[in-house]
């Protein structure tokens, strides 16, 4: 598929024979993530559908969503044509060569774009030119961490532009909303973010919320929360309670799937707290659309796929 205007294409790095296995694993991870929603997300879509009134617009939207999930997986085509920001979260053994990993990941992204698992989605912010293979400054994004294990833990999230655009960051206290620097204030601003988003982020959505941190750590950590299984329980009892409450109250707003009205406005809420400076109190809210594309693999250090993480 052609796209216009076309910018200079960054040549994908060559993959040495030693990294061929890792390349194959990453390509398969991208294909799976783009075309096949993980079981926890599918289950929450089914639950959402059951909550909608028979014959309502909300039920109609959820049915279309469910059918779309099934077709995409059957034909191995992207679930949504906006294959979004490409976010890798990678844990490597101590002493592992992360520079080579990043090169192989870029090669896999370029190949996946050529094969149509990813759309050409990387645009020069000054000239407006599309790089054509998803490579360029800042794309794809790879967050590295080391862990004390012999294996690689590689997770991928694809986050579309429509939902990214409705994310919001609040600085508390917020006088418009009467939100102070406490969990009650957090609850108020998060519900405001859901109200402001209406259906524009292709709801029902999933929220990643970080209390504290600074403007950048808050937002980047909020995306990492999308790696939590949808049906898990927050180990911090106070946050677990807040997640449940926000979920229930957001769903009582009646925004519904696609903003058509209905009972399923959110499919999940994940909250974490980071320490902050005494002077600031941020609440960063990332919104993920129903096309909640994330998957992960455990792989041997040579890249050989051992198992899927979300199954």
């Amino acid at each position: 598929m052609a796209t216009n205007p076309k910018g200079p294409m960054k040549t994908p790095p060559a993959v040495p024979a030693t990294h061929q296995t890792l390349f194959e694993t990453l390509l398969e991870l991208i294909r799976m993530t783009s075309t096949n929603l993980p079981p926890d997300v599918r289950k929450s879509v089914v639950d959402g559908l059951e909550k909608e009134k028979a014959g309502s617009a909300g039920e109609y939207a959820m049915k279309v969503i469910q059918r779309n999930i099934d077709i995409a997986c059957g034909v191995s085509q992207p679930l949504c044509q906006d294959t979004g920001s490409i976010l890798f979260f990678v844990k490597t053994p101590v002493g592992y060569d992360q520079i080579s990993f990043a090169e192989v990941a870029e090669a896999a992204v370029a190949k996946a774009t050529e094969l149509g698992y990813l759309r050409q989605n990387s645009v020069d912010s000054i000239t407006g030119q599309n790089s054509g293979n998803n490579l360029g400054p800042g794309t794809p994004t790879i967050y590295f961490e080391q862990h004390r294990s012999e294996d690689l833990d590689i997770r991928l999230a694809l986050k579309g532009g429509g939902c990214e655009n409705v994310g919001a960051q609040y600085s508390l206290p917020d006088s418009r909303l009467g939100a102070g620097r406490d969990l009650e204030g957090v609850r108020k601003v998060v519900l405001d973010a859901v109200y402001q988003a209406q259906g524009k982020g292709c709801g029902p959505g999933i929220l990643g919320v970080v209390i504290g941190g600074d403007r950048s750590t808050g937002f980047s950590y909020s995306k990492k929360l999308f790696l939590r299984p949808l049906d898990d329980e927050n180990p911090d009892g106070r946050l677990a309670e807040l997640e449940k409450r926000i979920m229930q109250e957001a769903n009582s707003l009646g925004i519904g799937p696609m903003g058509f009205g209905g009972n399923t406005t959110l499919l999940g809420v994940k909250i974490a707290a980071l320490n902050r400076l005494p002077a600031s109190f941020y609440v960063s809210v990332s919104y993920m659309c129903w096309a909640f594309r994330r998957q992960g693999v455990k792989a041997a250090a040579n890249g050989a796929l051992k198992e899927w993480i979300y199954k």
Partner: protein
């Protein structure tokens, strides 16, 4: 919810019979158009196809050429419509389109143009790229491909039972405005704030 089958092109009368909340299954020929096409039409420039009475779809489809040399649509979900808000009312008036298809709803100018000139806004399900691609029977043609590139070109798509919800009708009603108002009221109740 009413389910209504419509075949494009449609008459003003057919469009005025629709109400917010109606579910429509569209058949016939529709045209894709995004930012570049809207700007082009808004500036009064012409296009090689006649879209009068038909629908413009805010969509940048993924289209590939098959081995036999035919176009095949691989993904065809809606894109955010508000980007066309500055142009849409003029395009409705000047080019006589009877439906605008997209996602996320549109603003006051488009709402008024729908009422004044007899047009509706049809909301497709965002992200449903595969369900919507399946309704495409045939790619009849493509214009402005060279100038605008594939996602921005005008794709002439023959569809069968393309599903969408009327969220702005030709009587001045908007489901988006209704849901925004009712959810704001609910939010104020939940937060204990008065309006």
């Amino acid at each position: 919810m009413r389910e209504i089958k419509l075949t494009l092109p449609v008459s003003e009368e057919q469009v005025r019979a629709l109400n917010v909340g109606d579910m429509v299954l569209l058949s016939g020929v529709l045209y894709t158009g995004r930012d570049a096409v809207h700007k082009h039409l808004y500036e009064g420039k012409s296009i090689p196809v006649d879209i009068r009475g038909s629908a413009i779809y805010h969509c940048g489809p993924v289209v590939v050429k098959t081995e036999s040399g035919e176009w095949s649509v691989r993904a065809a979900g809606p894109t955010t419509s508000t980007r066309e808000e500055p142009y849409q009312a003029t395009v409705i008036e000047k080019f006589g389109i009877r439906a605008v298809i997209g996602k996320g709803g549109m603003g006051a100018k488009t709402l008024k143009a729908c009422k004044d000139f007899g047009c509706v806004y049809l909301h497709a399900v965002g992200g449903a790229a595969q369900v919507l691609a399946e309704t495409v029977q045939k790619v009849r043609g493509v214009s402005m491909l060279e100038e605008f590139g594939s996602p921005e070109a005008i794709w002439e798509l023959e569809v069968k039972d393309f599903p969408a919800l009327v969220t702005i009708d030709a009587h001045g009603n908007s489901l988006h405005a209704d849901v925004a108002a009712s959810s704001e009221q609910k939010l104020n109740e939940v937060l204990g704030t008065k309006k």
